[in-house]
């Protein structure tokens, strides 16, 4: 017997919320990046769940696109992190005060 779709949706919503909370609360750029990845993967789970329950392959194809984009984003993100680190020797966003919020 298959688990009902609500289970998957709730799980991915919870994962997404954890990701959002991580971005908002955590004070390390690398952890924030990981939280963003968590958000994207929660979305992937939603796509796959819908795709499976609707019997359409579209959602699964989309996941490949999302993963590719996430990989490209991670590459650029880490490069930017390194270029900031060269100036600052820290990755705490609170120290990034050159430009006042």
């Amino acid at each position: 017997m298959q688990a009902p779709i609500e289970y998957y949706l709730v799980l991915s919503a919870v994962l997404f919320a954890i990701g959002v909370a991580g971005v908002v609360i955590r004070r390390d750029v690398i952890v924030i990046l990981m939280s963003i990845e968590l958000m994207l993967n929660a979305v992937n789970l939603t796509f796959i769940a819908f795709s499976r329950f609707m019997g359409s392959v579209e959602g699964q194809v989309i996941v490949f696109f999302v993963m590719t984009v996430a990989a490209a984003e991670a590459v650029v993100g880490l490069a930017i992190v390194i270029s900031v680190f060269r100036f600052r020797q820290t990755l705490d966003p609170r120290d990034m005060q050159l430009l006042k919020w």
Binding site: V43, F50, S56, E58, R88
Partner: protein, 476 residues
Amino acid sequence: MAADYVALLPAAQMLVAAIVVLVLDLFTPADEKGVLVWTSLAGLALSAWVALRFRGAEGAFGNTLLLDGFAVFFILVFAVVAALTILMSVQYVRESGIREGEFYVLILLSAVGMIIMASANDLILFFIGLETMSIAVYVLAGMWRSRAESAESAMKYFLIGAFATGFFLYGIALIYGATGSTHLDRIAEALGGPQAALLLTAGVFLVLVGLAFKVAAAPFHFWVPDVYDGAPTPVTAFMAVAVKAAAFAGWARIFLHQWEPLRDEWTPAVKALAILTMTLGNVLAVTQSSVKRMLAYSSIAHAGYLMIALVAGGEVGAQALLFYVVSYAAMTLGAFAVVAALKADDREGAAYADFAGLGYRKPFLAMAMSLFMLSLAGFPPLAGFTGKFYLFRAAVAAGHTDLAVIGVLNSLVSVFYYLRVILMMYMQEGGVEAKSFRGAPYLYAAVGFTAVATVYLGILPTGALYASLGAIASLR
């Protein structure tokens, strides 16, 4: 399903141009990089020509990528904006020690993403365009590698952008679940029938939040001043104009056109966002001491004005939106170009005090800057006035008189900080030396072009208004 890829041609042509410039860069000695500028400009022109030539071609990939009049309109806007950005960055880039070839390549690549955004008739394709654009612009913001502010700006832009992407994507997933497709046509069909209302509403609002981040609508605007301030000035201009135009293109196609049946659900939210965005942008702009930051807040305020058109909706609202995008592009690009002209080796020269006495040292730049400031504030007979006139008229026609009133009051507030720049240029002494015509001919060309466009769109708006109307009418 016939394989007709013609609609893809403008984006493909732009991509080819980017690759050509990238390879050419390898074989060009350091003192002959000017050829890269001309190659990039030729690529942009060719892409615009291809778009015009094949306007109305059959949609590619099962109608997920369209080349209707609406897409062509925005492709032309992106091509011109990218060309002007390249022109204003030539000297800037050389002085800052930014790798020239890569800089142009990234601008062309982000233009590819924008073209896809304007042509996409499928949420996933739109998302891919959005990311292609964003990733290139993240890098552009951090291109001035010897400057800590630039790196910090790139970091903040990246984190906020990626965060917003998450929301946007989650919205797409929920809409996919509710309607069974990401194709906008099929979603629109599903809207007529029975549907999972809760999922759909949640999805629509998440997509709305994702787009609001991209156009810098309050309360999702907090990153803008920092990012715009730290990035190299031509990149700031590109972000403020092209990125915003691309996001509004998506907003117009997705929300105004395809999700028309859902109007009652999202209009109140967008209306609240518009009021908040206009007011916050203008009030905070008053308190700034840097012209570059002031322009950042001003771009937030203008995003608010543009959202008035979304609330007004219908053909009149959409026409006002497209026309205002063009006017806003002309005057904002011009203003940032003048700021870029004040840069000396390592200093940005973007404070109000740096503008002092510019009217005597560089009369042409000061006159052009005065034009842009007056136009941004909405003085007739300049582009900003005509654009605002149509925006507010659309709002009143749609029964949102309150929005029009708030918009006019906001314009009054904005006069204060825009005129301050003019006051500094003509009434004060001191300030920094600006680039001369001889030293920066490309930059002067960009300033001249935008100044002429600002006046032209103000006095003779008919052509642009008809083009906007044609673009809207071509949406099916």
